[in-house]
Symmetry: C2
Subunit: 450 residues, 2 copies
């Protein structure tokens, strides 16, 4: 099969990190983040452009200073279930944390979405970086870093085990003989692990794609290892092709070392292309977007990797403060990277905020021809397998789909029609074999659940 | 406002307790319980008949012997969210357990459904009777009876507190001044209780009906007390008008004793009306339905209140066995009632199963005229405020809506058109005042959260 670029659309409403002010845009309703019609229209727009998936981010911890979209939004899976019956082909990928959900509930809700959508569900597995979340879930403190990743890995394994509770021929539903279920095709899991004990079976059967597709993001060593273990799609951010290629090679090598087929781990960086009539015009728009942001809001958002540390009392023009190990239990890699750069380059707080919050020029900025050529260069250069496109303004999204994608389609880089009605089918990922069916047909015992 | 009968429709697929064999019915697809189109068609059928709500039951524990619908079905809230965009007026009531969900997740998912549906969400609060469920949630044993009810009450209070996180004017979204949120209208909960600690705020605002409507079922003293405390709709089962009236008076008195308006606690027994051309014919159908059931399946289902105790090894015609306190931590009231009747009436196991599983003639059986008259008698006699109609076969449901309801409509007992687009509006329940708005306007501190 010819390798083609995969396309995701990040669906948001009124502005998250780096997009604080989208709620003031005339094309975006002020309550977009809680308006199901907004999401349905955006999903249909992406589906009309033959995107593989829509992607819903999440968090459960807010303060009055949180970005607009964070303050007031729909829970991802509840939202995606409504989108499942508003669309027909596009994949539905939701963020759900393994730190504050039980595996049985996760497995059940995702399997339900998978059936309702006819096999289009995906799960972006997160371990939750915001330490403040713990207080919403009867815990004095957030799980430590190692526990979070251990729970994430174990949760996914448990869910995958539960999703195989029924073999595909478990329900004869034979009216003549009165046999509804074949009890030999229903399987308990009997999982006993470090973090969870789950007996099963799950009370739901498999969808046309077998199991929901697993997505993951995470740039720390632990995060990359988790992604290489369980991720079938990897969300990331890569400012340059060289960094993208290095990340790509690293993840694929880690996956291969774990015995997985690297082609079944799709690297999809999040990008915000800016398309204009000329390259100069596009660069100017991108620059104005970056510099036009409200510094105070960026400063608040800058605190997130440090556990939403409040930087507003600091002298902006003094050297970057000594923060000790602040952030070690939140978004550790990001926090350490910020501290390292600030120290090595002797930056002030203001310079550090500008560096990390708003001052990196984005890739994929220019005329449609330029943007298409850049995307193709990154794709053929193995910097990515797909793009997770984050453009909230509908007319700007349309400019990308109507001007850039036709060029890529002409060159065979993106599809001309959906290959399948399932997310796995469109992403070119195999349907996971039911472990019990496989063991039975090989005449061996089902492997012990890990 | 004229008091009118409220109508719920229990939506199931291929047969639950007492309806084992519906999966063999030619009108019911064998995979109805996992088919979103089946549910959407049933919901639209009920909406066309101006029903107040559809109701989804639930459980999370199965064995190979569980009834067909239990074996393989959609998670209630995932299902209802898809129905929210497939319907426009009907209420969407889902069963969610407080034993194996955290209040923050419950509050968030229900609030999301409430916004997606435009204010039509309802929550049937259950504490989970099936002891085996614990093993799916990393617990050695199920919560004991008192803990379950304590957790249920506290969960609902926490959710109601979280649902008031934002006052209705919290989001000015003023483009001119750049003010998206008014931080003085966002409130933390800071709940610290016996079972849960939840800081808040919830990251979602209120729907047009303010908060989801709370439903509850439960016949034990603790269950009735919980219903009287938090229930706005009470699901129950009443075989005779006299028993229905006694239950009705008891719940309303308990609610009044707690300072609530008894008119805002709606009693809605579950019923399965049988409508035929003549009373005799209807009674014959009802009797055949009851006696035609598979005894072995009834025997398996009979074990449920006793923690799915397996009765298949007992002598069916010996006196009812001594079960000790089996069932005390499952469905206690039901288990104790069965033991009491079997002992007092010296029944065999077979007689006991027949008595409790299949042998009580149902009310509301007869010609359309008879059924309508009976419903009106129970309604005006204050045996009920509404009916939770459980008819799975579409043509039989249509017979009830097309023949019985027009008679009741003629007499003013049921509505001729929806009064509102929210569930509260149609049920005649008030919108709960936001506690923070109320306290501010009364110039008193927000009452401490209980």
């Amino acid at each position: 099969m010819v390798r083609q670029l995969k396309l995701g659309a990040v669906l948001m409403g009124v502005g998250g990190p780096g997009q604080h002010d989208t709620w003031t845009h005339p094309e975006i309703p002020g309550d977009a983040s809680i308006d199901i019609r907004w999401y349905a229209e955006r999903a249909r727009q992406a589906e009309a452009a033959l995107f593989d998936l829509v992607f819903i981010v999440d968090s459960q911890f807010i303060t009055p200073d949180s970005p607009p979209h964070y303050l007031n939004r729909l829970e991802p899976l509840t939202l995606l279930s409504a989108l499942a019956v508003s669309t027909t082909h596009i994949g539905l990928v939701g963020t759900l944390t393994t730190s504050y959900n039980t595996p049985f509930n996760l497995a059940r809700r995702l399997a339900s979405l998978d059936l309702i959508s006819g096999g289009r569900a995906g799960w972006n597995v997160v371990a939750t970086g915001d330490g403040g979340t713990a207080a919403n879930y009867s815990r004095d403190e957030h799980f430590d870093y190692a526990s979070r990743y251990g729970r994430a890995l174990e949760s996914v394994r448990v869910c995958q085990g539960l999703w195989d509770s029924y073999e595909d021929d478990a329900f004869p539903r034979d009216v003549a003989t009165g046999v509804f279920v074949d009890p030999t095709r229903q399987h308990r899991l009997d999982h006993v692990g470090e973090h969870f004990s789950v007996r099963g079976p799950l009370n739901i059967s498999r969808s046309p794609q077998g199991q929901p597709v697993i997505f993951q993001a995470g740039d720390s060593d632990e995060g990359r290892d988790l992604g290489a273990s369980i991720g079938e799609g990897i969300f990331t951010h890569s400012p340059t092709l060289e960094k993208a290629q290095a990340f790509y090679r690293d993840i694929k090598a880690r996956a291969a070392a774990k015995g997985r087929d690297p082609e079944h781990v799709l690297i999809m960086p999040g990008v915000t292309p800016v398309v204009a009539d000329t390259d100069d015009e596009a660069r100017e728009i991108e620059r104005a977007n970056r510099l036009g942001k409200d510094f105070a809001k960026n400063l608040a958002q800058f605190g997130r990797p440090f556990g939403w540390h409040d930087f507003s009392g600091y002298d902006l023009d003094a050297p970057f403060p000594d923060l000790g190990d602040l952030g070690a239990d939140s978004f550790r890699t990001q926090a350490e990277q910020i501290k390292k750069v600030a120290r090595e380059e002797r930056l002030t707080l203001r310079q550090t905020v500008e560096r990390f919050m708003s001052s990196t020029p984005q890739p994929f900025v220019g005329s449609a021809t330029t943007v298409a050529a850049e995307i193709e260069r990154w794709f053929t250069g193995r910097g990515l397998d797909g793009l997770n496109v984050h453009i909230t303004v509908p007319s700007e999204f349309a400019r990308f789909t109507d001007e850039v994608l036709p060029i890529l389609r002409e060159r065979g880089v993106v599809r001309s029609e959906y290959e399948a009605t399932t997310l796995r089918g469109n992403l070119g990922l195999p349907i996971p074999r039911n472990v019990h069916t496989a063991a039975r047909e090989a005449r061996v015992p089902t492997p012990a659940h890990v």
